[in-house]
Symmetry: D3
């Protein structure tokens, strides 16, 4: 058996899937973790943002807690940092990498909290998923901690804002 | 020492934090996992939604893959289900619970993919964080799998839509 | 939007998949974690076995170590027990449950090691996947610990031998 | 094969190990996760303490941070709570259980920080390992956050102070 | 105490264990994670296979699902990829490493499904355990998804087929 | 928004926190994972110790088990090695790294068991937290396995004894 190619009977041998540039899919449309071993390790950074929209009363209660000693944002910051470290465990086709730095900052608006995360690494693959995961987990933690007073919150505007390092060149979000 | 109360020197004994209804904070503003042991185990359900906004070309490439054999949404569905099971590991003050069912559905629009998750359990605490986490992880997975063709995607509208079971009565999002 | 059903545009509305009794797939062939919340919690048990085939020299080296103080099987036993506890984390559609007992035993043959695992729980779903996962992880650990002297080992005969509890009645493997 | 007992050739059939009351070892000295399925689920609580000994300068730097806005203890509290939830993942023969509440408090002394954890559950097994693990992880986190200014810290006095619930009756540490 | 060697009273000082080439055991038979720090990082690859034996009806139901839209193999593929990333978490003495690529393919036979996994990395240690773990987790997932229609399935023939990179030279399974 | 700095409204813009050399806190006292990407990867090692104090009867029961076939210390050794690999998952601001070697030894005294761990890596950051975590998890495992016969055990003297590699130079504990 070792001298023949296994063909994936499951998804046919037709190869008719136009995979349209999806690097995480092979020519037959099957998921794969794309090979990064030929890439050089280099310094990479990504910055992402998200917003948790909430009642003005909720936002100001978080702000009051922050000014005195409430832990909402401190807990969300720790959760986001740990979430960044679990990215490849959560996102099936993400490559594991050694995160070199994470910072998470918050800005409290009138009816939202904005989250900004930055992740750095020296590695073969970018850290945009790590920055976005940190945003998402921090946002979910804020939701969890405020949901007893405000169930209507929504999480939105999760987006990559900057990405540097790697061969594809820097990316900077227009708006 | 066993006969005296430890007072948290770290955050003072003043107790001056107005914790404003945050059940995850004690009267002094310190994080805690609120006690659910007095609650009765009962059937609970939550339903949440999210949207991944993308270029129309990206959405139709995902749709084409789905119609033929592309794995983007199948991978995102598995990731979302597994994400639901990790909720208490990701969100620091979330209680562990035994998820009894998870379903995740997708609807592809012209320039977005909508995600809908439903989670059921029999337990002492609600599953809204599990439904929201499933949405978030599925959305991040879609982002990951499409980012080679569209870096400008944003994830938004992550919100709880329904919640039933438990003493506080059903919740249904207005809009 | 809350008043309409999301239909999964990704996989069409045709529902033409004959799901052939696969409870982990919905009528349209999409993965789901089947709902166990209507089931009663009851005592359940499963017993599984596996074999690691190896050179006679390898088997007797393991046996010698076991008789004196080598840790191969002690390490494999711990790994198998911990593997059982991670089953729902590894197998995407497995329900989390609270394992109540795990025992793992080994028998060294002339050119194989046989593994037998038994898992018990009180819960809404069976523990056959936990017993099989414990077998698999214990077998992989034996492979890992012996591979420096024998790369040709194979793991086989991983099978469920007994299952009791639950509404479907007991299962006992014929041979 | 199904009709005979597997005997663990690895550790002999002699059964000569006097297991001396170790419930985690079978009569032949092999590790097992003891069967808790016959036990009734009941409310259980455990309280544990630990101390991180440090230079007076370190302790007062932590105290200053706590009074203003330093995150050392807030981070340690989150880490301890999350550590409690991972206990059965870390300690091989620990049973998984659903933690119902965790609280962690700190007291800053002249040259140490004392940690006190309390864990509650409704379940078939006690939560002393969860309380002790929460102490240990919180202590390690304090060490990690202060090690840039004080490498000589030691962690000690990790002990169970109280345990209630379960058939064996309450335990209260003498001193 | 710092100036003397700790001898492991637990397992005696006799060193009489003939460790027979087991690199994961020290001369006294105690488990250890062998030191790979002196090795050079290099490109490494491993390929493994496994078979899930099943009733012909089960195999053809999986095949039908795959041709239309059933998710059995897509779910197993994701599970296998994620399993590869957890290898060092599951196998106690495995070194953590950064997986650079994973591909998993399936071939459906008359009464079995064959799984083939390939894993690549640039690192100090081989990836055979990762390839074997991916096989095992994919096989367990197939079992889980088909067990409602076929409890008698067995998993077998889990074996390493190729290994390249590292100082020990390439390995290729004979048959 | 992309052209302005987010300031963390949560913790004020005052920057008045004297962070006193805590590298894990930014100038405003907020937790961060400090950036190690500018550092060179180099060989690093750490050695730590801990003691589990217990009744002489407990210590000699462990010793007896060790001499014959009891698994207390074998299980604790495996748990400690696996704990070392989870350090960055447990300690929020710890950097992930690729552990290259772990050894754990035990010495049984009259009324205690001493644990010694050594961890090696080639990386950008030290492994003292890994060595300390291995000690802690091994100690907790010993507690867990002996608690049925001795609830009064305490874990203490967890300390870093040696650390080499990295720019800050070697550290050796005085006593």
């Amino acid at each position: 058996m070792s001298d023949r190619d296994l063909t994936d009977g499951a998804f046919g041998s037709s190869g008719d899937f136009n995979h349209a540039g999806f690097t995480h899919l092979d020519p037959m449309g099957r998921a794969r973790m794309v090979d990064v071993t030929p890439k050089e390790a280099s310094h990479r950074r990504a910055m992402a943002r998200a917003k948790v929209h909430m009642d003005p009363e909720t936002a100001s209660a978080v702000a009051r807690g922050a000014i005195t000693k409430g832990d909402v944002l401190a807990v969300a910051r720790v959760a986001g940092i740990q979430g960044a470290k679990r990215t490849s465990d959560l996102i099936p086709l993400c490559h594991p990498l050694l995160i070199g730095a994470v910072t998470i900052n918050f800005e409290i608006g009138e009816s939202h909290i904005e989250i900004e995360t930055q992740v750095d690494t020296v590695g073969r693959t970018g850290v945009e998923m790590e920055a976005l995961t940190a945003c998402s987990v921090a946002a979910l933690t804020i939701y969890d901690m405020c949901k007893s007073i405000d169930k209507g919150m929504t999480i939105g505007d999760i987006a990559l804002w900057e990405k540097t390092g790697g061969k594809s060149g820097p990316y900077r979000r227009a708006k």
